[in-house]
Amino acid sequence: MKAPGFSRKTLCIPYAVFLIFFVVIPMCVILFYAFTDSEMHFSFSNFLRFFSDPTKLSTIVYSIVISLITTVICLVIAYPVALILARSKLKKKFIILMLFVLPMWINFVLRINAIREFFNLLSQADALSWLETANIFKTVVGMVYDFLPFMILPLYTTMLKIDDSLYEASADLGANSFTTFFRITLPLSMPGIMSGVTMVFLPSMTNYVVSDMLGNAKVTIIGKFISDYFGNDWHMGSMIALVLLIVVFVSTWLTGGFHSEENVRGANL
């Protein structure tokens, strides 16, 4: 007889229950709504309506573009920071890291409100009055501000793992810093880049609180669209959510999100 006690399987039960109730079932509901009409009959009409409507397609494209811009800016800002932090011999570098991560501890709607007021203040100056109507600019700045820590952290943790002896070897073999960067730092920090990109690109497609508050609700990204449709037409809303899910799936796959090797997802977030 087996001794009573916890096996690995029993330890999985809480998570399995969570998964079923908050992931699998909602997913099925979305699928169900996406492929039914208002009489709850099976129908492809939402599918056809979505792909024959230029508005919806351009909103998807528009969201992707805004997310791409956000991601690139985040990467450009975060990479040097993470590199400097990881390579520096500073004893108190965690303080600098903390400065970047600290905003994450404050409620994000409060931060966005604060940045809105900050822009208000700036736009009082004559030279900056264009800020008042620069909705896309403000949205992107808000997104970058919001997601920057999600880019820095995975980059930082991957770079920490790079063995110092590799740099020494590289210097020994006569490589200049330029070559070292392209032959050692960049390839080895690739998992961190991928992880950071995924963590910034995907949420920024749907984070419509930023676009509503900083873009004066004149910038409509796909998340806002879904929310609007869920006010009146759950079927269309579900279809848009489904399409977004596919976009997310494809981009995760492309950035290597489904690899099982430990190293690929460099972040310990």
Partner: protein, 565 residues
């Protein structure tokens, strides 16, 4: 319809879930629970803003004014909660004033226990839009009392989701029936006739009259809050503003200085006003069909109308500063925008807020001076009412409605949120309570021409009831916003609900308006770019598995291979 300030928690947390705010809990055994689902910030929540109705005049327990021996109302001059007030409150309400100040839901629990000999607990939760509330109901969430707007009342009733009010609710001889005795005859008439909209049928084939399903709570108009000083600086006089009417939405001089609502119902309504302003002005105002024609124009949802409204909506989007639901008020007060399309209650709130600044020595100092106007061509008249969904605890729900209809409670709510209560007060004993309230807030010394006639609201002959107020209050300030003139009401249409097919078309229209319509070539360029990136990534990932891309061995090697073979 009247979504006020959105707070952080509501946004960041559960987007689709209502924010459950357990505002009240009067514990005990055998407690009845009353589940009330109301608009956000649509009830007196106590605290500093609470209107101390003792300020106005003393009311006895039935809400009737107490008068001194000369027949004058007894005023309490102090506006602070002192010991006198506490004593008075305890006597009037039958329980002591709580630390947080008078909280209306606590007061209801106490009152219910005293009158119904039954303990009650109120589960109070709030919603942000009529549509959110509707979804909650359809999903099967159970409530005893809801507070939807006019068109949503009609929709819920037509779908057979509502209980009818009891006959006894309308019996004025029952002492606890405060609603039927105090409701404004003007509102009661609107609820009996569905404010002139078509009478629809419920699933059992019976005619729907709002009166059977709903008891009024708040009402008002929509119009524009404007900043006269800023407009003057831009060379636009108030007369010109009045003559522009709805065209302010598309007038280039207001570019980036005006806001619209971030919901399809109100902004579509406004766009109809802009598009058909000339037709609306051309209607014969003395004709018998005037209000029918007006309502038809403001409720048009046919394809031809949508086709002409769409370019207008695009122009509006181009011209406005933002689509907003709650930021308009602060933007107005800060002077960022000149015009804010607003519900009258929010307008009152914004006007008050603009004036509430205090200088360091405690003197009142005006930070901005705002006014309110309703377009000459016509606007929207709205009502929010209490309805009971199927399966509600009708007894407790109706008691709640009656409690909120006690004049002093109507005043407290109205004072707190800025909207106008449907309650007028009884007229058989001198001035109705709400008239005294309006007089307290806006009244001035009587002179020859400053009479503001409110008789329509109290269901009396012209000239019977009114207050003396200065010209600004009568034409463009809080008094005018809270109690519009009969002329404004005569040119205001009530919103009907869209049937399912129209609703779908208008939502599509709204998504076209809100979305960024990219030029086809831009889409092509972007799609090509994205496909390019995807392709490049795929190539890097799988390139070495495809023979074509595999690094070719040097020719010499191939020769050796052949030779060996």
């Amino acid at each position: 319809m009247k979504k006020k300030r959105i707070f952080a928690v509501a946004l960041a947390g559960a987007m689709l879930l209502p924010t459950l705010a357990m505002l009240s809990g009067c514990g005990g055994e055998e407690v009845v629970t009353l589940r009330v689902y109301n608009w956000e910030e649509y009830i007196d929540e106590g605290g500093e803003q609470t209107f101390i109705f003792g300020e106005l005049h003393e009311l006895d327990e039935d809400g009737k004014p107490i008068k001194d021996e000369n027949g004058n109302h007894i005023h309490i001059e102090s506006d602070i909660v002192d010991d006198d007030y506490k004593a008075w409150y305890e006597e009037a309400m039958g329980h002591p004033l709580s630390e947080e100040g008078p909280r209306i839901l606590d007061d209801f629990c106490e009152w219910y226990e005293r009158t119904h000999h039954q303990k009650i607990r109120v589960e109070y939760s709030t919603f942000g839009t009529n549509e959110d509330m509707y979804n909650e109901i359809v999903l099967g969430n159970e409530y005893d009392l809801l507070c939807p707007s006019d068109y949503m009342i009609m929709k819920l009733a037509a779908e057979g989701r509502l209980e009818r009010y009891d006959e006894s609710f309308f019996d004025p001889s029952i002492p606890e029936n405060y609603y039927v005795r105090n409701v404004s005859p003007f509102i009661a008439e609107k609820f009996e006739t569905n404010a002139g909209l078509d009478v629809r049928k419920d699933p059992e084939g019976e005619n729907i009259y709002w009166k059977d399903f709903a008891a009024g709570y708040m009402w008002g108009t929509t119009g524009f809050v404007y900043n006269p000083a800023a407009l003057e600086a831009a060379g636009i006089s108030e007369e010109e503003l009045g003559s522009l009417g709805w065209d302010v939405f598309t007038d280039k001089r207001f570019r980036g200085k005006i806001t619209a609502k971030d919901n399809v119902r109100d902004t579509y309504f406004a766009a109809l006003g802009v598009t058909f302003q000339d037709d609306l002005l051309a209607l014969d105002r003395t004709g018998a069909d005037y209000i029918t024609d007006l309502t038809a124009i403001f409720n048009a949802t046919d394809d031809a109308t949508i086709d002409v409204v769409e370019p207008t909506l695009m122009k509006i989007k181009e011209n406005i500063y933002s689509f907003e639901t709650d930021t308009g008020k602060s933007d107005m007060v800060q002077g960022k925008i000149w015009l804010n399309y607003a519900w009258s209650g929010d307008a009152v709130y914004a006007l008050d807020l603009a004036e509430s600044g205090k200088s360091e020595d405690g003197e009142d100092e005006q930070t901005a001076y705002l006014n309110y106007f309703v377009p000459e061509a016509g606007s929207n008249l709205f009502f929010d009412g209490w309805v009971m969904p199927k399966g509600a605890n009708k007894e407790a729900a109706q008691a709640f409605v009656n409690f909120m209809s006690m004049p002093q409670n109507a005043m407290r709510n109205s004072y707190y949120i800025g909207y106008t209560s449907v309650i007028a007060g009884e007229t058989d004993d001198g001035d109705p309570a709400m008239l005294t309230y309006a007089d307290y807030l806006y009244g001035e010394e009587e002179d020859e021409e400053n009479f503001y006639d409110l008789s329509y609201f109290f269901g009396a002959e012209d000239g019977t009831y009114g207050i003396y107020a200065d010209e600004e209050q009568r034409t463009k300030r809080q008094l005018f916003a809270q109690f519009p003139t009969p002329e404004v009401i005569a040119r205001s249409a009530v919103m009907d609900y869209y049937d399912e097919e129209a609703s779908m078309r208008i939502n599509e229209l709204w998504s076209r308006v809100k979305a960024e319509s990219l030029e086809p070539w831009t889409i092509v360029v972007i799609v090509v770019a994205v496909v390019g990136i995807v392709g490049a990534v795929l190539l890097i990932k799988f390139g070495n598995k495809i023979d074509f891309f595999r690094t070719r061995p040097k020719k010499g090697y191939e020769k050796v291979k052949e030779e060996r073979a």
